[in-house]
Amino acid sequence: MSGPHRTTVGQIARTVATDIDTTVENLPTVVEALDHADRTVRLTAMWALVVIPEFRPEARDGVVAQADSYAAVEAQFVVDVLSDNDDPDEETTAGDGGSVGSATAVAPTADETGSAATADPSDGSSTTDGPPTFGEDGPGPGENGPGPSENGPNTAEQADDDPRRRLTPEAREVVQTVVEEMWRAPERTPSLLRLLAHDRRHVRLTAMWAVALVAEHHPTNVDHLAARARQHGSREVSFLIDILDYYHDVSQTEATQLDATIAPPEQQLNRTLWGPYITYPAVEDRVVGEQSNTFTPNSTTVTAVNSVELVGLSHHERVYVVAGTVDDEYTKFNLHTYVPEGRYAIKEFQRGFQPAIDGWTAVDGLDHVVSVHAHGRTPHPWVATDYLPRPLWEVGQLPPRAAVETTVELCDAVATMHQGGTAHGAVSPWSVGVAQTTSAYVPRFTRVGMAANLGGPQALRIDERFAPPEALSEEYGSVGRLSDVYGLGVTLYRLLTGDAPPYPRDLDGRFVPVDVPDPSATVPELPAAIDPIVQTATATEKPWRYESATRLAQQLRGLLKDR
């Protein structure tokens, strides 16, 4: 279960993306969402209502009439957009009795969309042709989404057959990104901005909506978004700027200055703005033969057969699942390899590896720490550990009590690590593996001490949204035990809300400290008493953060006792 607003955003967006007819049938519900308390829902409803007439022109007047009865600014935007019929690029069939424009107009324009189109996994007959799964109103992570039948018999197939009945692949990919992978939206911002100049209006409107939602998640970037959006002259850009200005008070001066200084769009758009784990490492992994997928460890404890699967990837770290023997028992285990590249020299990397592995092995007997079976330094550092099927990240949102109890367990594990003289250095939902028993999730720390010794969290598979400020900027001091407290706080936030904090960088990659939102603001059902605990655990400044994981655990236990 997720916050109701997330569910509603997903419901509206998925329906629009997969079946316009169903959306039209449920028009009153969508219109009512213009009055929703959550801004992202209102923005999504706004988008749905301006896109529907692109495919069903006969619905335009009804939408305008209904939206006009709402006071929300989004409703006024709906009226304004739908009243704006002067678009020279208009490809829809307003006035042609419900048929949609020419075939050339509706054909996908991959050449216009660059990476957005080329990276589109949903194009053609790909797996996302069915209704995309998203949020928490579908099955859990890793499971299959609801079948097409949930949206009526064969609606998806009909839609596939008739491109006039559904959004273009570019627009659908934007929807998928927003609904399922909002955490990747910032890195796709250049593509989104480019879609503002697309030749189809509904794509531009979809990009407008997506950029507005990115701005919601990254309020510190609004001026940059506005400035870059202005470089793509279209009416939708004007609407977007109005929306951003209404909610975020876009700085005209700064935007003007940025307009003058920003490089041409072609130069900006090829950049990867966030997410170091997006970039595939250029250096070959010599621990695992990438061509043969073999792992032959120089170890008496661990042996492997030719069954190696890559399951995790970042700049310097790769995670594999290996079938082999551990202490003569055939089993699966995880293999982490650390491959330095760029400014990290192999010797420096190997030097840092030893204290890291020493710290890890010193605490790997703990219940909540993954055991190290074997490790080596050549040809690159590697560690063979217990098998963990998935990271805590994929668990998403838990019921409040379970989320707090899980975090208390993690706090206790971290406290024990600290007592043993080891700091994890990069606590996040990605660095906690989950071994699911028949009755419960058992969280276990992995990558203990690696981030602190191997180039910092940015070098490993660390999501910067969960990284403490001191890991991203030297101004905030060094990574240590208090960093683990921060990591526990954001992990708690993730477990409570299923969401992640905003990205701590602006569009130019500069670190910008952000506040972790109050969990109860994201999920209103949560008790407000949890908010100050999360806030204190994730304080940007160390002096205002809990001094130890034990302190955080005490606060959380007090909360459990009160409930």
Binding site: S478, A539, E541, R545, E547, Q555
Partner: protein, 243 residues
């Protein structure tokens, strides 16, 4: 009025006073150095707070040094005699200001408003007040011991109430316990309270030099205050490692 030794008036307490002032000077000097180092290495939003702690340490070092010198001398100069309670008054005021600053930083930190944590004008004015208090005590030509004692007796309770108010505000904040700042303000409050007691005792001694009980009480308060300072300095050292 003829001035007689102001502290260490009771037999046997002079050594306690001396040890107390030496400890205070050493710990405060250490505190000032560490706080200064932390301030330099910290983000702008924290510099104001660590700046105040630096001031607390610096003033404490001066008070401790002068106090130790005062009790070491058999016949203390009149200027030094009058200086001790006034300096202690200034020190308690700086402690109260640091409590206030911790609360202001807590309110403004971790938000977009953190830049407001640094008020150059306000800080300058407050430092000016502290320097003024110290300056008033310096020349006994301008202030008689009686006036000095009266000022201390009148101002110390106000200063304690001022610091206590911000401590209460800190306690009323949500989820404030268990942080470094929480530990610091608790120990600084103890330092403030104990050294306020010392200030009052020295003020009373200034006009009633034969008050043995007051003399002993003041010496005890001084030792308790320096014990609280130990906890503050230890916390400073722990924090300095991570910045």
């Amino acid at each position: 009025m003829t001035l007689t030794p102001l502290v260490g008036a009771a037999p046997g307490t002079r050594l306690i006073w001396f040890v107390g002032f030496v400890l205070m000077a050493a710990l405060s000097l250490w505190m000032a150095i560490v706080a200064r180092r932390i301030a330099t290495a910290s983000p702008d939003s924290q510099r104001s707070l660590w700046g105040y702690y630096t001031l607390v340490g610096a003033v404490g070092a001066v008070v401790g040094g002068v106090g130790a010198g005062r009790t070491a001398l058999a016949e203390p100069p009149t200027a030094v005699a009058a200086l001790v309670p006034t300096l202690l008054l200034g020190y308690t005021f700086v402690c109260a200001l640091s409590l206030r600053e911790a609360q202001y930083n807590a309110v403004f930190s971790n938000t977009e408003l953190e830049r407001f944590g640094d008020y150059p004008t306000r800080r300058g004015a407050e430092v000016g007040i502290v320097v003024g208090i110290l300056g008033v005590g310096l020349p006994p030509l301008f202030v008689t011991p009686l006036v000095s004692a009266a000022v201390a007796v009148l101002l110390v309770p106000a200063i304690v109430v001022y610091g206590g108010y911000f401590f209460r505000e800190h306690l009323r904040g949500t989820a404030t316990q268990g942080t470094l700042v929480d530990t610091l303000v608790r120990h600084v409050l103890l330092t403030l309270v104990f050294l306020s007691g010392t200030t009052l005792a020295t003020a009373v001694l200034l006009v009633a030099p034969d008050a043995v009980i007051v003399d002993s009480l003041g010496a005890t308060m001084l030792l308790l205050g320096t014990a609280s300072l130990v906890a503050v300095v230890v916390k400073f050292r722990q924090h300095a490692v991570s910045v």
